[in-house]
């Protein structure tokens, strides 16, 4: 399984074959949006409802 790929470069090349740019873009956008909502969103409703989580996770940017 790892015998054929032995560098980060090969892995990147493999990923580029396996995934289309659109798939990568969608995945990154989704993950970034999720992360932003969880950690940095300042909209009062979202922000307050996850207030405890943010404190419990030690994220202090709020």
């Amino acid at each position: 399984m790892t015998a054929t790929d032995d560098s980060v470069h090969d892995r990147l090349a493999d990923a580029r074959i396996a995934l289309t740019p659109a798939q990568v873009a969608v995945a990154i956008t989704l993950l970034a949006a999720l992360g932003f909502v969880l950690l940095f969103a300042q909209a009062p409703m979202l922000h307050d409802s996850m207030h405890n989580f943010r404190h419990a996770a030690g994220i202090v940017c709020h």
């Binding site: 790892t2 980060v8 990923a15 207030h51 989580f53 404190h55 419990a56 996770a57 030690g58 202090v60």
Partner: protein, 258 residues
């Protein structure tokens, strides 16, 4: 291969998220509720910081949303760190198969929590930061980036020195980039706070938070290491079975031939 990596990352994330959700439900929420009662008892200074006068809604809604947030947080970290990043970085991470997951987990903790906490340690509600939010977010992200860079440099230094000089210089070289982090934190803006929570309670809260994050990354890394081991054991066994089948077949053939 990519899909198998992503699936393992997602599975590790599910385990980590579940564990962290439980942590928020059983420890985080009750402790925060307690801190808030102490705070209103101590200072008479209402918990309206940064939240303006907006209606917080029933306490339970916040608790449930926080548990859900914990689960999603774990799944997110698992997918990004152990799905995508492990796939890309596996050839570059030093160590044996089992150790790699733990090394990546430790790096993840340092990046997401450890390095930023050097500058802004976790605080209970009631401890108010004087710095503006956007300044803090910028420094938080900066420290996270510095943590990730330090981990990358440490890995690079270890692999290079290990090949040329041996193990001890390699460990020493890998430790060096981490020494930059406290210096960077000291250069950052001072984070003045005004607290209405007793120092002992704030300390307990901080330690519980640290244990929670370390635990989350530990569960993520352990699950991932276990999944890797399981998949690796599964693979060679099937090929072994094939080859033994073939040899026994060949043997019987030889016997018949004779």
């Amino acid at each position: 291969m990519l899909t198998r990596h992503l699936r393992r990352g997602l599975q590790a994330g599910a385990a980590g998220g579940l564990a962290f959700g439980l942590f928020v439900a059983l420890l985080g929420n009750p402790l925060l509720r307690y801190v808030e009662t102490v705070e209103s008892f101590e200072g008479g200074h209402s918990h309206a910081h940064a939240h303006g006068g907006s209606a917080v809604g029933p306490e339970t809604v916040g608790s449930i949303a926080s548990v859900a947030g914990g689960v999603v947080f774990g799944v997110l970290l698992g997918t990004v760190a152990f799905g995508a990043l492990y796939y890309l970085l596996e050839p570059a991470i030093p160590g044996a198969n089992g150790t790699r997951s733990y090394l990546l987990g430790a790096s993840g903790f340092l990046t997401v929590s450890g390095a930023p906490w050097l500058l802004f340690p976790p605080q209970p509600p009631g401890v108010e930061a004087v710095l503006a939010t956007d300044v803090r977010v910028r420094w938080y992200l900066g420290m996270a980036l510095a943590g990730a860079l330090a981990c990358g440099l440490a890995g690079l230094a270890y692999t290079r020195l290990r090949a040329r000089r041996g193990r001890l210089p390699a460990v020493f070289g890998a430790a060096l980039p981490f020494c930059v982090l406290p210096i960077l934190a000291a250069l950052g803006p001072a984070a003045p706070i005004s607290s209405s929570v007793p120092a002992a309670l704030a300390y307990v809260f901080r330690m519980v938070t640290v244990v929670g994050q370390v635990g989350l990354w530990f569960v993520l890394a352990s699950t991932h290491a276990w999944l890797l081991r399981r998949d690796r054991i599964g693979e060679p066994e099937s090929t072994d079975a094939d080859s033994t089948d073939r040899t026994t077949f060949a043997d019987t053939y030889r016997v018949l031939d004779r």
